[in-house]
C-alpha cells in the first residue's frame, strides 16, 4: 500500500507541476499569508510547551490574551486592545474551566512550578 501511495503522489505532483507550467493552475481559493499567522504559530508552540509546567490557568490566560490582542489591536489600537484582550482572556479561560472541568469532568493540568 505505501508503495502504491508513493506512485499516486508522484502522479498527482506531476499533474500539479504541469498545471503550473501551462499556467492553468487555479489559485482563486488560496488562503492569505500574514505575519500574524506566523506569530499565531509561535504562540501556539509556546502554549503547548508551557501547558503542563505552568498549568491550565496561567498558560491559557497568557495564550488567549495574546491571540485576542493580535486580533483586537487592528480594531482599537495596541494599548486599548491590551485592556479588552485581558477581559477576553479572563472570560474565555474561566469559561473553558467551567466547560471542561465542571460540566464535563475532564482533567486539566494545574502546573508543577
Amino acid at each position: 500500500m505505501p508503495l502504491i501511495l508513493v506512485v499516486l503522489l508522484a502522479i498527482g505532483a506531476l499533474g500539479v507541476l504541469l498545471e503550473e507550467l501551462h499556467e492553468t493552475a487555479d489559485h482563486q481559493d488560496a488562503g492569505h499569508f500574514g505575519v500574524r499567522s506566523l506569530v499565531l504559530i509561535g504562540l501556539t508552540v509556546g502554549f503547548v510547551w508551557a501547558f503542563e509546567p505552568l498549568g491550565y490557568w496561567i498558560a491559557t490566560v497568557a495564550y488567549t490574551f495574546c491571540v485576542a490582542w493580535l486580533f483586537e489591536q487592528e480594531r482599537v489600537g495596541a494599548s486599548r486592545a491590551a485592556q479588552t484582550a485581558l477581559l477576553i482572556a479572563a472570560g474565555i479561560t474561566v469559561m473553558g474551566w467551567l466547560f471542561f472541568v465542571q460540566l464535563f469532568e475532564l482533567f486539566l493540568p494545574e502546573g508543577y512550578f
Binding site: 505505501p2 505532483a13 487555479d26 482563486q28 488560496a30 488562503g31 486580533f71 473553558g96
Partner: protein, 495 residues
Amino acid sequence: MLGDLLGGFVAITNPETFLYLVTGFVMGLIFGAIPGLTATLAIALLLPFTFAMELTNALVMVMAIFMSGIYAGSVTGITVNIPGAPSGAITTLEGHALMKRGHGAQALSLDAFASSVGGVLGALVLMFVAVPMSEFALMFHTPDKFALVFMAVATVVIVAKGSIWKSLVAVTLGLMISTVGFDNMVAQGRFEFGSANLIEGVQLLPAVIGLFAICELLLQGGSSIHDRPKAPEFKVRHRDFFLNWSKVREIGALTYLKSSIIGVLIGMLPGGGASMASFVAYAEAKRVSKKPEEYGNGSHEGLAAAESANNAMCGGAVVPLLTLGIPGDSVTAIIFGVLLIHGLVPGPDLLISEMATIAPMFAALMMAAVFVFLSVLIFGPYYIRIAQMNRGILYSFIAMIAMVGTYASTFSVFQMWMALFIGVFAYLLRLMSYPLVPMLMGIILGPYLELYLRRALITSNGDFMVFFQSPISIGLYVMTALFIYFLRYRAPKAI
C-alpha cells in the same frame, strides 16, 4: 422500526437533550453565518467534548449544528452579499439581487422556509431509506467493500473544488498519514520512527482539530478586519420575516420537492456536499423554469431551489455513513469519529442493532430543520449581526477550545503537538489552494481501503480478478466511472 423512530423524538424532549439541541443549533448559526467559519469547524471543536458526553446528546448536538450551519451560510449572503459558507453562494446570487431590488425581506423568509422544507424532507428520507439500505449492505463481501471505499475515495477526488491533481495529492497525503502506526494485518509498526506515541497512528481528534480549527485560525491570521462583512444598510424588522404564501405557491411544491430530492441524492454521494447540491438543483430549476431570465437577477424560484437542496443534503449525507460505514464529507467524517469514540462502528450492522440509539439523531435533524424557520421568525433581525462578532473573542475562543480540548480528551501533550503540526501543514496546503476535505477522507478511509485490499488478496491467493467477480463490485466500479464522467466532464455549467 417505527417504534424506535418515535422513541428518537421522545428522547429529544428530555430537557437536557433538548438543551444540547438548542445549543448546537445556536453554535451552527454562529459558525455558519461568519464568513470563513463553517459548521465543520463547529463540529470539530465539539469533538473533544463528546468524549465526556452521552452519545445521544453528542449526536443530537452535531445534527443541530449541521442543519443550522448549512442554513446560516445564506443569511449574510442575502443581506451583505458575503456567504457565510460556500454552500450559500447560489443563495447569495439570487438573494442579494432581491435585496437590492427591495425584496430582501421576502428573500430572507423564503430562504428560511426552503431550508426547513428541504431539511425536513431530507430527514424523512434518512429515516425511511437508511434501514433498507443497511440490509442491502449486509450482502457486501470484502471485494465489494473495497470497491465501495475506492468509489468514495475516487469521488472525493473528483468533486473537490479546483484542481483535480491537487485533490489527488491531498487524498494521497491523507492515505499516507493513515498508514502510520500499527499495521492492521501483521503485528508490526510502520513509519512510527521508534516513537511510542506514533505506534497507535495519527488519531482522528488531532487530525480534525488540526485540519479545521488550527488551520482556520492561521488563515484568519492572514485576513484583515476589512474582510469582515459590513453591517447591512437597512433596518430589518421581525415582520419582514413573515412568509409570503403567494410567492411560495408561485414557486410551486414541485420545485421544493425536486430540489430536495436532488439535495438528498447528492448528499449521499461521497464528497457531494451542500455547494454541489445547491448548484445542481439551481441549474435544474433554471432548465425547467418558465422565467429563466430572472435567474441571476433575483429569482425566488432559484433561491428556493438552491436552499431546499442545501439543507436536504444533510439527511442524505448521513445515509452512507450509517448504512455503509462510509463518511461522505467532513461533517459525516467527524460524526464517524463521535460514533467510534462511543464504541459504535458505523456500517450495515449499526442501524439493525442500535436503531434505538441512533434514532434521536434523525429526530434532531428534523427538529433542527423546523427550528430554522421558527427561529427566523423570532430572532431573524439578530441573525444578520452574527457576522459582526468580535474577532478577538472568536479566535481566542477557537484557539483555546482546539488546543485545550485536544489535551482534555487525550491527556496527552503529544496529541496537542500533533494537532498543531497537522494544522500548520494544512495551512501551508491551503496557501497553495490544496483542498483539505480529501485529506481528511484519506486519513479516515485509508485503513479500510488497505484492510479490504489486503484481505481480499490474501483470500484469493493474490488474484486481482477477485475485485471484478461480484456483481456488486462491478456495479460500484461502473458507478465510479459514471461519477467521473458526469461530475468531471459533464458537470452543469449553467451559472
